[in-house]
């Protein structure tokens, strides 16, 4: 039997490395935030790694993603420099945005990362712009908007579904349905369980997959992105997933069963499942994954140390990078 190209050792290792980097980055921030050296709000992506890693495994630097307030995972999966990201979150001059953006505005246009976004539902219209540009220029690029279940109630999202469908834009809307819009459970904020259904009303296909399963996300995203690249128009891809931490760091999560996150970690951890399945299938040796674990732990240590040692932005930077000249 043949092994499909997507499951080459190289691509599997890349998928694991991406998820492990996101997990370690977020777990470390969870600890570091308590040291009160990080300015601003931080929203952690731990638990949802399979979505960003599975989707972005089909994208190149030429493709664009828009992100959310919970954007670290998308940035890492899209190839942003991890040390630059950490410095940015620490507000240091060596950060990806010179320390002036912070967690919720990390962007890196060289990597096709349009930016984390503090506006809930802010990404989809930006991605329609990406899609229109790519279509007019026939560039072959694809745009992916990540958004959450809460954002799926926003007019910006619904209008973007409509615009992308009538213009047949090369875009994919990836809804990371983690069951909560901030502190509001999904059943309190929408009457449907499958957000993919919202596609029906706008004339584009909608698909739901298990967002904790890297292989389910990667397969569905591969088809959706392939459709977009081939000129067949947009797709709404809903990934049902789990948030290990609160909405923001410091969230007491009184709206949630106290055992819920622990149960999710025990039964639906995308990294644990990935490791078990690729080693059971004989596709990767556990040692190769262990080596990545060691390497990433060191990278995150260095990222924090270098961020702490880096200078703050100079006061003279206060009014630069505010407006762009066309």
């Amino acid at each position: 039997m043949t092994v499909t190209a997507e499951l080459s050792q190289e691509s599997l290792l890349r998928g694991y490395r991406t998820m492990r980097t996101i997990r370690d980055f977020e777990e470390r921030l969870h600890i570091e935030i308590a040291n009160a050296q990080i300015p601003g709000f931080v929203h952690l992506y731990a638990g949802e790694e399979a979505v960003a890693a599975g989707v972005c495994s089909h994208l190149s630097d030429e493709d664009w993603v828009s992100s959310t307030h919970r954007g670290h995972g998308h940035a890492i999966a899209k190839g942003c420099d991890v040390k630059g990201m950490m410095a940015e979150i620490y507000g240091r001059a060596t950060g990806l945005c010179k320390g002036k953006g912070g967690s919720m505005h990390i962007a890196d246009f060289r990597r096709g990362m349009l930016g984390a976004n503090g506006i809930v539902g802010g990404g989809p219209p930006l991605i329609c712009g990406v899609g229109l540009s790519a279509k007019v220029r026939r560039s072959g690029q694809v745009g992916v908007a990540f958004l959450g279940d809460g954002a799926s109630n926003q007019g910006t999202f619904l209008e973007s579904l409509n615009l992308s469908a009538i213009w047949k834009l090369p875009v994919v809307f990836v809804v990371e349905n983690n069951g909560y819009g901030e502190a509001t459970g999904q059943s309190y904020h929408q009457a449907v369980e499958d957000i993919a259904k919202r596609a029906d009303g706008f004339g584009l296909p909608g698909v739901t997959v298990d967002g904790n399963d890297y292989f389910a996300v990667a397969e569905a995203a591969g088809i959706a992105i392939g459709r977009a690249r081939a000129g067949h128009g947009p797709t709404l891809l809903e990934c049902k997933t789990t948030r290990f931490f609160g909405h923001f760091e410091g969230d007491t999560q009184t709206y949630r069963d106290p055992n819920e996150a622990a149960e999710a970690r025990a039964s639906r951890d995308c990294l644990v499942a990935f490791r078990a399945r690729v080693t059971d299938a004989g596709l990767l040796a556990g040692a190769a994954l262990d080596a990545i674990d060691v390497e990433i732990a060191q990278l995150i240590d260095e990222s924090v140390a270098e961020a702490l040692a880096a200078p703050w932005p100079d006061v003279s930077e206060l009014s630069t990078d505010v407006y762009i000249k066309y």
């Binding site: 499909t4 369980e193 296909p205 698909v207 569905a220 059971d280 299938a281």
Partner: protein
């Protein structure tokens, strides 16, 4: 029409979670939404009430299914003798575990029969736990081989007649079942087909690429079916109640000795190559070719294999299903549903 008796209880398993899979992108499969499924259950219950079934136990269902059902029942309860509806008292996880649990509890409660609304996958899960309790198999989409696409009101009448002991001698049919074992240990079952796929992971579940399939074993195969079983159906049809099944080895359509064009999924017609095919006798065991991959059961990837795993498939007797056509034919011949016009019917007509 007779008044429902609380002694007579049937179960309902309606899957609210199906219908958003990858086939929405790769093929043209259509499915009923949950509002339609809820309406289907209400229509089914009209048939049940009219035949004397007093109580329905139903798997809890989210996604608007139960909500639609309850609204429908409430709006017509005054004019029609619906059975009492009792939802099993737990929160659904929207996974196959709900179905397993519901079937177990319905059997414990002694239901006379179980109506299943879903696709091949839902029926497969019910079949592995239902024992000798008869099933009414109703399809809620266009991509199914096992359940029938049928108006639920009539199906409800037939189910009610069976539950009240008036189904007649031809009411029930014995289906076939494919038991799948890995390394000698039983692992799961299929009602229609078992396929070996070269995909390594369950992934997005649905089988949608003929090129992935190396081998196929079917319990039955109609030449007019859609799906994997159509491959077998178009080379050597196997009647649903014929005693045997079929084992097919697939190959490259360019080089295989036989090439056949099949409707692999709604909206998807493709050529497949066939190396050989042979019948699988009752009780017979077929080994699936070695090698790592995934086993798909009734069209959905379910079992991930390790290198060297040995997979065998045995054809055995399956669940009992209700033959709606036969039950209604017998009802007509014996005048089972004939009788004086009741006040409920008069009231209904007067509105």
């Amino acid at each position: 029409m007779i008044q429902p008796s609380p002694e007579i209880v049937v179960g309902i398993v309606a899957n609210a979670a199906s219908g958003r899979d990858i086939r929405r992108l790769t093929t043209g499969a259509s499915v009923f939404d949950n509002a339609e499924k809820g309406s289907m259950v209400a229509r089914l219950m009209a048939g049940l009430g009219a035949t004397g079934v007093g109580r329905v136990l139903m798997m809890p269902a989210g996604g608007g299914l139960a909500g639609t059902l309850i609204r429908r029942l409430d709006s017509r309860r005054d004019s029609l003798p619906y059975p009492e509806l009792e939802l099993l008292p737990w929160r659904p996880t929207e996974t196959a575990r709900d179905t397993d649990r519901a079937v177990r509890e319905l059997l414990e409660r002694g239901v006379a029969a179980i109506a299943v609304l879903g696709g091949d996958g839902t029926h497969r899960v019910v079949a592995r736990g239902c024992g000798s309790t008869p099933l009414l198999a109703l399809s809620t989409g266009t991509n199914n081989a096992f359940p029938e696409l049928r108006e639920a009101t009539v199906a409800g009448l037939a189910l009610g007649l069976v539950a009240t002991g008036r189904g007649g001698p031809l009411a029930l049919r014995r289906e076939k079942l494919l038991e799948v074992s890995v390394n000698g240990g039983p692992r799961d079952v299929a009602l229609v087909d078992v396929a070996a796929s070269c995909q390594r992971f369950v992934g997005a579940r649905a089988v949608w690429n003929a090129g992935d399939i190396s081998e196929l074993i079917v319990a039955f195969a109609s030449p007019s079916a859609v799906g994997l079983s159509s491959i077998a159906g178009l080379i050597d049809p196997v009647g649903r109640y014929a005693p045997y099944g079929l084992h097919v080895r697939l190959g490259d359509p360019e080089t295989a000795p036989m090439r056949v064009v099949v409707p692999l999924a709604p909206g998807l017609v493709v050529p497949v190559g066939v190396e050989w095919h042979r019948r699988l006798e009752p009780g017979g065991v077929a080994a699936l070719g070695g090698g790592a991959g995934v086993i798909a059961l009734d069209g959905e990837r379910e079992l991930e294999l390790r290198e060297g795993d040995r997979v065998s498939v045995k054809l055995v007797a399956g669940p009992l299903t209700i033959d709606v056509e036969q039950v209604m034919l017998q009802a007509a011949q014996l005048g089972v549903l004939r009788g004086p016009i009741t006040s409920a019917v008069v009231a209904e007509e007067a509105q």
